[in-house]
Subunit: 247 residues, 2 copies
DNA sequence: TGAATAGTGTCTTTAAGACACTATGTG
DNA sequence: CACATAGTGTCTTAAAGACACTATTCA
């Protein structure tokens, strides 16, 4: 088959977003309610068409800003500052995944600190945080199960987040700029759904060079003895990794 | 923005393949010579358009068969048997990545045992194995540097393979159906570009339950004392992982 | 005072790193 | 024979698991 650019089947290309955060001790994802068919009234992942002149990560960052006001912090992006972690997740292109036409969706994963209530976009769709446990529960009732193949995409995003905080410092992306060791531990516990030993966890994270940098401040917002505040250090890779306990 | 399926910019969607194998102690990739502009005469990754009615993995498996005759062995595919490991790698969609039009390419990673000489496809393009070290070398001369953004895609695929053999049993995908511990060790050494202690390696792989299953046979094809033959066991995850030595 | 969280230290256990040594084939 | 590769064992070291114990706040 010669490479003939004039004879290709046209596809629609979209980005879908798995936006994760930790709210009240549970891993949660951002979902929007669909206002029109198909799957009208069902919850779905935020997303939209990639424009003709923008890159994939660019489209994902734009959609993220439209839905949440968050500024994406791409690994290599120049705009350093506050914002959420954004990375490509995977691409979904089953011919039947959208009943209307052939759509290939490039899913992206966003890890964000706990935010104020999500703001509805300009199109006034309703938006909310939902615990991933509910969204991925076995009961496939239409009140909670996601539209299209979004349950699969969400599951892949959750699994990516769970495995990536093992060997990277990405768990800090779920934390505010300054946080305590205990707050970071509660992130791991929420994402993995396990309880961790506070003492061994403290030894591990404070003993890993470049992971945490003390800011000098303390806080008592968790109650109990005042805890040191840290910010994320320069290290991105955790070696040896944080071990996820067996279930 | 309402979700209007009639107003989307059309994209071409392709699959590109990073096909890796270990040949004469070096990690090698399959490349094809381009017969037409742009980048005429340059080497590129194999790939092609996704058809209107096929899925992404399906398209990748079809292209792989066309280029090499290999049957893909997808993680969840029903067609168990001999074949190469196939998984999605990442998607590349920079607006400028193809000078002719807007192309989004879903790259796939294939890990294959050392094969007989690749067969040219029906279109008689020339095909060869090249050491990834040469393809990714710093010298950007057009004799070796790849067309389009394929050097970046190849680098991402190599990095995926290097990290994935740490915590999975995927290194066996580079081996024939029956292999020795020494042959498996040479796979790790070629992919990582390091030397491993044969004795500690032997202890590690034979001590990991489900990684290797002895077949009872022995071989002397590597010279020296006859070595036991193994095949890949059912385990897919290595816990604890195989540790990649620091450089 | 009691409850909660923060932080340090100690002992045990797992598994990797660095070897010595033996086994069994080929030229 | 020399030499190559295969395979086992031993000692040391790094780091996780399982705790005990102290520190500092608030109600």
């Amino acid at each position: 088959m010669p490479y003939d650019p004039s004879a290709f089947p046209p596809f629609a290309v979209t980005v879908d977003l798995v936006v994760l955060t930790v709210r009240d001790h549970a891993l949660s994802a951002l979902v929007v309610r669909r206002g029109e068919p198909p799957y009208q009234g069902r919850w779905a992942l935020p997303g939209g068409f990639v424009r003709a002149d923008e890159g994939l990560a660019e489209a994902a960052a734009r959609e993220l800003a439209e839905e949440t006001g968050l500024r994406a912090q791409q690994p290599s992006g120049p705009g350093a500052g506050l914002g959420a972690h954004l990375e490509q997740l995977a691409t979904y292109g089953d011919p039947q995944r959208d009943p209307r036409m052939r759509v290939v969706s490039v899913a992206h994963l966003v890890l964000a600190p706990d935010l104020p209530a999500p703001r509805a976009g300009g199109d006034a769709r309703s938006v909310r945080w939902a615990h991933v446990g509910e969204l991925l529960g076995r009961t496939a009732d239409s009140a909670t199960s996601l539209a299209f193949d979004h349950a699969r995409i969400l599951a892949d995003g959750v699994e990516r987040a769970r495995s990536k905080i093992e060997y990277s410092s990405l768990a800090t992306a779920f934390c505010p700029p300054e946080f305590t060791v205990g707050e970071l531990r509660r992130v791991y516990e929420a994402v993995w759904g396990v309880a961790l030993d506070p003492r061994n966890f403290h030894r591990k994270v404070t003993g890993t060079p470049g992971f945490l940098v003390p800011t000098g401040g303390t806080t008592t917002r968790q109650g109990g003895r005042p805890a040191q505040l840290f910010r994320a250090g320069g290290a991105t890779v955790l070696n040896p990794p944080m071990l996820r306990p067996e279930v």
